[in-house]
Amino acid sequence: MKISLFITCLTDTYYPRVGRAVVAILEHLGHEVVFPAGQTCCGQPMFNTGYHEQAADLARRMIDVFDDADVVVTPSGSCAAMIHEYYPQLLHNDPAYAERTHAFIHKTHEFVEFLTNVEKIDLRALRCKWPGHVTYHYSCHLRALGMTDEAVRLLQQINGIQFTPLKKTEQCCGFGGTFAVKYPEISGAMVRDKTACIAQTRADTVICNDGGCAMNIAGALHREGSEVKLKHLAELIAEGLGLLENDV
């Protein structure tokens, strides 16, 4: 199928390799990937901070940009959640967008959810191999998408991988957008709790599938001088399929 990629502002700016991995995997699975160049941001930072008019404008823009998309895939759970959970509230009073909002929500998928529920991927059959010791951080906004352990189940399909569950995997890492800047003492305590749990697993790599969480956790790991790497599941799978050179 033709898949329109919604890269998200954070992934575009800070984690472009994740985007390359997503493209590589989707093409490997036989899909055509297009990138609507007009895309910018889903409006989540504005919405969460209370600037709802600005958020609504950006939501309308998103729907316009992806208007002729059949399927939209995004590597960020929080952006997918913003669209699914809050776009109806933002646009239900706008007659020009009310219906299109529902169509947009229906065709937009978070990447791991797409692989699991739409593609029904089998990484064993695809001979995905990635020897290494990993753990997984469950990003909060996956709750809103009704996602639970899809990423873990995919990890367990990868040949050679050693997976150690993260204690308190569902506990928020403390990013929360502007929260990390407005309440640094709380955010800092939360991210250090997270890195302590990561260290306890003795894994070399933590899988994290959200740009915001990634910036937060990676920033904390680096501050601590930790050797632990942070990767999106897309990068791991792309490396494991030989589609992306292994990152050193």
Partner: protein, 495 residues
């Protein structure tokens, strides 16, 4: 730390560094208490152990008992509460009717002052001198004890946690487990100091000490004060759930029983009560039910062997009708005060209850405190959240807490509470996202600057204002040399 002269009047003017913990001066700013709390390892350790265990326990007991039907049970409970709230006038009238027919005297208190005044008036009229009290958040809200002490009525908290707090001149920090911020060492010290008991940190011995002290007081009390978990409209009954049975004592032995209950505690009938009794204790403490559930439908009847001569119920408004009238926020009145959201909240776990500077803490407190006491007075609370959604997921009546926190934030923005600087920043930020070219330009301008500040790994250790808060606590990744769209443009034809 200053305290008053009366040992038993713990909540008269509890202060810490000159400020009341639950009734600080307004507007209240969280940051000082947040900072102190997150660095108090002993406090955090105690609260983490307790909240995590209850949160994990809650999920397990619901999964074990109801499996996938748990979600529909929550939906049902939420609908029952919402329906009752949407028709609260009807159910209030019905309740008052039935309760009075049972011989209960029902009073209506518009605010805290009135609620306390009604209670004092009854107590004085009945010439009560000694009061025993079971746990009630509403009485914390109205700050009842000082009003009773002022007229010479000695009041004793009988909930073990509240009793220990009272003895130690402290205040609750959690809706359900009020002394979650203290441990048995704190208790041992308090009992030794205030009760002259031998020092022991053994929980069973500590409980025995408390029991002996309390039993004596129970017998002498002529006034019992309680809260209420539910009010059943069609039978005019009051429902009280406890694990210690202390409420049973308070509402049975003394001559006069006065219950303080928020008007939002109404439910239509007994069959609805069954739904909530399935949910309450499981959500609070991961138990199937509390050990004791009292359903009170009136004072002692001639054939009864015990019971109070008088039962009074004070229906407390104190801002609830204001929330009721607010269509978007009405949902918060569904709350059954189970504390599940507090136990699930990663922020609560780090700052603990007293940081919220109000009677109600945690996620629900962050919603109702600004509603009760003014958003301008508690502006920090709705923003002190990463919007992780754990609270909404935990709530047995499906209050959509994250959505409502965002609603309060949008109100702060609309009323100018968020400040002009932030508004300008977000206007500029939003404007840069209006077109792909402005977005790319903004990144093209800021990217090199940020990369120049980064180390060879690509991390910034001191971010420029206003982002300095970020790097106080961790490093900040710099933007990648080439963005994804830059790569796409370079490597793909169809841009």
């Amino acid at each position: 730390m200053t305290t008053t002269e009366h040992h038993t009047s713990a909540s008269v003017s509890l202060t810490r560094e000159g400020e009341s913990i639950l009734f600080p001066s307004l507007p209240y700013h969280m940051h000082d208490r947040n900072r102190r709390a997150v660095h108090n390892d002993k406090l955090i350790a105690a609260v983490e152990v307790a909240t995590l265990a209850k949160d994990v326990g809650r999920k397990k007991i619901f999964a074990d008992t109801f499996g996938p039907r748990y979600d529909s049970l929550r939906t049902l409970a939420g609908q029952i509460k919402q329906h009752t709230l949407d028709h609260l006038d009807h159910y209030l009238e019905q309740f008052i009717d039935r309760a009075e027919a049972n011989g209960v005297r029902v009073h209506f208190a518009a605010d805290a002052r009135e609620a306390n005044a009604i209670c004092v008036e009854i107590a004085q009229h009945e010439k009560c001198t000694a009061c025993v009290k079971s746990k009630s958040m509403v009485t914390e809200e109205t700050h009842l004890l000082p009003a009773l002490e002022a007229v010479g009525i000695e009041t004793l908290e009988t909930d073990l946690g509240e009793f220990i707090l009272q003895i130690d001149h402290d205040v609750p920090s959690h809706i359900v487990t009020p002394m979650i911020h203290k441990d048995r060492y704190d208790t041992a010290a308090a009992f030794q100091r205030e009760l002259g008991a031998p020092y022991t940190t053994d929980p069973q011995q500590l409980t025995r000490i408390a029991r002996e002290y309390l039993r004596d007081k129970y017998r002498k009390a002529d006034l019992g004060i309680s809260g209420g978990n539910f009010l059943v409209a069609d039978s005019g009954s009051l429902v009280i759930c406890t694990n210690e049975g202390n409420a049973t004592f308070c509402v049975t032995a003394p001559r006069v029983h006065i219950a303080f209950v928020g008007i939002e505690k109404l439910i239509p009938s007994a069959e609805h009560l069954a739904v909530f009794l399935k949910l309450l204790a499981r959500s609070s403490t991961a138990q199937p039910m509390t050990i004791y559930t009292d359903i009170i439908s009136g004072p002692k009847r001639p054939a009864d062997s015990d019971g109070p001569e008088q039962v009074h119920i004070i229906l407390v408004d104190n801002g609830r009708t204001k929330i009721l009238a607010d269509e978007k926020m009405r949902e918060t009145l569904r709350c059954i005060r189970c504390g599940a959201c507090l136990n699930a909240c990663p922020v609560y776990r780090k700052v603990t209850g007293h940081s919220y500077g109000a009677v109600y803490s945690g996620p629900i407190g962050a919603l109702i405190t600004p509603m009760f006491r003014g958003l301008r007075n508690y502006k920090d609370l709705p923003y002190a959240s990463s919007l992780c959604g754990a609270c909404g997921e935990a709530c047995p009546v499906k209050i959509d807490i994250p959505r409502l926190l965002i609603e309060l934030r949008s109100r702060a923005v609309k009323t100018g509470l968020a400040g002009r600087v932030e508004k300008l920043a977000f206007d500029a930020y939003s404007a840069s996202l209006k077109h792909a070219w402005t977005y790319r330009l903004a990144n093209a301008l800021s990217g090199p600057v940020l990369r120049a500040m980064a180390d060879h790994d690509g991390y910034i250790s001191k971010a420029p204002p206003p982002f300095g808060g970020w790097t106080d606590e961790r490093d900040l990744p710099a933007p990648a040399e080439q963005s994804f769209r830059g790569w796409w443009k370079q490597n793909r034809r169809n841009l």
